[in-house]
Amino acid sequence: MEEIRIEHLTKSFDGFIAVNDVSLVIQPGELFSFLGPSGCGKTTLLRMIAGFETPLTGRILLGNHDITQLPPYKRQVNTIFQNYSLFPHMTVFENVAFALRIRKLPQSEIDSRVREMLQLVKMEDQASKYPNTISGGQKQRVAIARALINKPKVLLLDEPLAALDLKLRQHMLIELMNIHDAVGITFIYVTHDQSEAMSISDRVAVMNHGNIIQSSPADDIYERPNSIFSAYFIGETNLLSAEVTSIEENYVGLKCYSGPGESFEIDSTFHFRPEIGQKLTVSLRPEKIGLSRTKPRNQDDFNIIRGVIEDILYVGTHTQYIVKVGNLKFRVFNQHKRVYFDDAAPDWEEPVWLFWHDTDSWLIDEEAPAGMDAGDLNVFERPIQMSRGMKRSQKQE
């Protein structure tokens, strides 16, 4: 088993930098995901590992071997393509056998290995069918068998489930995890679907504008985002623009801006040492905020603020409330242990209390972009401004 070491990899197309000086180590046997919006460079990175693109600078090492300049057919790396790319003029059997035929193995060995692979993906009874006569999920299985038959050291998966419908996607996701356990090789997974990436991966690398913003286990990225982008891109969150007013042993006092000349005070635990007067951003996940008609009993380590319900969205597993605090719009998710808090349906324009524990908020050492309101994140629809913010945050690191 060998690790993959990516060193200072850069790639540009016609002056557009697709991958910007990326360095990374992927452990042997790891299920690693690249997650990011379209155009973030994740597919380019994958294609460089596969050998379809040559990097401008940097190296890719598989174990101790520098594979940067090797053509795809000389790398012990195989790929599952987005639309499967099965050969339409070959049967399922021949598709899976392709790599072995190229190596001119004896027919008996080809037979037994193809059977074995088709069994692994539960397609042994479809061997004589042509790709255009099987379903999307079956094509996916054939693609997996075809890519694994050569016993690669690394399997690359380029949005493998994007073409499947939701139920099948969830099913195949579990199947992929089982296959990963069965073969034990490194899987590198590229997706723009965060729930896919979070549920399947040992580690997730969040990418934007050709950079890796954060690479950590899924719960780290969700609970402990290192940047506004990570916090915003993964799941939903409330981002508050805040200024440090006091520093205690276990928490900091913060002044959060809720409009021109308007603000409210909160406390928050911290994981880095801020300075008094420092501007930073607070990330507060919607499911961590409590909602109540009556004011909660004053407790020292709770933050309690007043707001007005602006919108109610019932989504089955929970209800989403949009609560206005000054100019800010808080998103609050209320799970249905009881359908409605206080056993009565909340109404639009109804004043409510929001409360959360000091430890539920997360500080991000990055100044909020101008004009950013909690819940109203249209600043992120302007990617250029975002990228400047990102560069600033990287210099600080």
Binding site: A50, G51, F52, P71, P72, Y73, V77, N78, T79, F81, N83, S85, L86, F87, P88, H89, M90, T91, V92, F93, E94, F98, A99, I102, R103, A127, S128, R146, A147, N150
Partner: protein, 304 residues
């Protein structure tokens, strides 16, 4: 409700619908069917009848005779038929070898350039066929442009005598029929999913292997269509051999023309020879189709 009755009701309704649909498809295909019968089936029937008659100076005598076929079997026309087959085969092969890279290149070009290149392939059709062939005669002749240039560059000491040889016929045939090969090839290669080549590369195939295992088999239909479009007219070629060839190697197309043009005319033998060309094409087509089918079946069997 009785399930059987219900079933019968739907099936009778369905039968009616199918009847109407059938009528529709007959009506829709009527114009082309009539056209085919009038201008394809009937003429061939006339040719068959004429081949079974006795020649007269200008016309035919309506007397049944198998003389035309006996004459063909005697071997007099084996050489022109052989020459025509060789010419058609060489033309098809050369068109394929020259046309495939061109079609591939165009198919993989950028969208804007593609259309320009296709137009460039078609432009020669705008000039009269005969004029284009005559210009080849001038170009290839002993004191033509080609020989003057080669002599001037001291690459040759004697003018190349290409004109009035079988080579001249082949060169011009390839020139004339190349677009008919390129266009169907282009339309097939253009639809090819090039990520399949990435997949083949990824699975260990070099670019060359990927070409022979993926690109070529997937462009088989284009090769088939292009080859037919070149081979069939090339087999009965008349004008090109007439203008570029010599009297010592006459092709079947020329023989047929002479039999009708020269007096005394011989309609029966010309008809019989025309039918012979038809039979040659049919045999080759069926053989090709048979091999194609058999390979497909064998592949399915292997996979079982």
């Amino acid at each position: 409700m009785n399930p059987t009755r219900h079933y019968n009701a739907t099936s009778s309704l369905e039968r009616k619908l199918t009847g109407i649909r059938n009528l529709h498809s007959w009506l829709l295909s009527a114009p082309s069917l009539i056209w085919l019968v009038l201008f394809f089936t009937l003429p061939y029937l006339i040719i068959i009848i004429y081949s079974l008659l006795v020649p007269d100076i200008y016309e035919v005598k309506f007397v049944f005779s198998l003389n035309a076929y006996k004459e063909i079997l005697s071997g007099t026309y084996f050489k022109p038929i052989f020459l025509a087959l060789r010419l058609a085969l060489m033309t098809t092969l050369l068109c394929l070898l020259l046309g495939y890279p061109v079609a591939y290149f165009i198919a993989r070009s950028q969208e804007k350039i593609k259309n320009i290149l296709i137009v460039l392939i078609i432009i020669p059709f705008w000039t009269n066929f005969i004029i284009r062939i005559f210009s080849w005669r001038i170009f290839l002749s002993s004191h033509g442009v080609m020989n003057e240039v080669l002599l001037g560059l001291n690459l040759i000491s004697q003018p190349l005598e290409i004109i009035r040889t079988d080579w001249a016929v082949i060169i011009v045939m390839v020139y004339v029929y190349l677009p008919y090969m390129i266009l169907p090839l282009y339309s097939v290669i253009e639809k090819l999913d090039f990520t399949l080549l990435d997949a083949a590369n990824d699975l260990g195939a070099s670019d060359r292997t990927a070409f022979f295992r993926i690109t070529l088999p997937l462009s088989r239909e284009g090769i088939f269509a292009g080859s037919l479009l070149v081979f069939i007219p090339a087999l009965g070629a008349y004008i090109v051999p007439q203008l570029m060839g010599n009297q010592n190697s006459l092709y079947i197309g020329q023989i047929i023309t002479y039999k009708i043009k020269n007096i005394p005319r011989n309609w029966p033998i010309a008809s019989a020879l025309s039918l012979l060309i038809l039979v040659c094409i049919a045999v080759i087509l069926l053989a090709g189709f048979y091999i194609y089918q058999k390979r497909r079946i064998r592949k399915v069997d292997e996979a079982r």
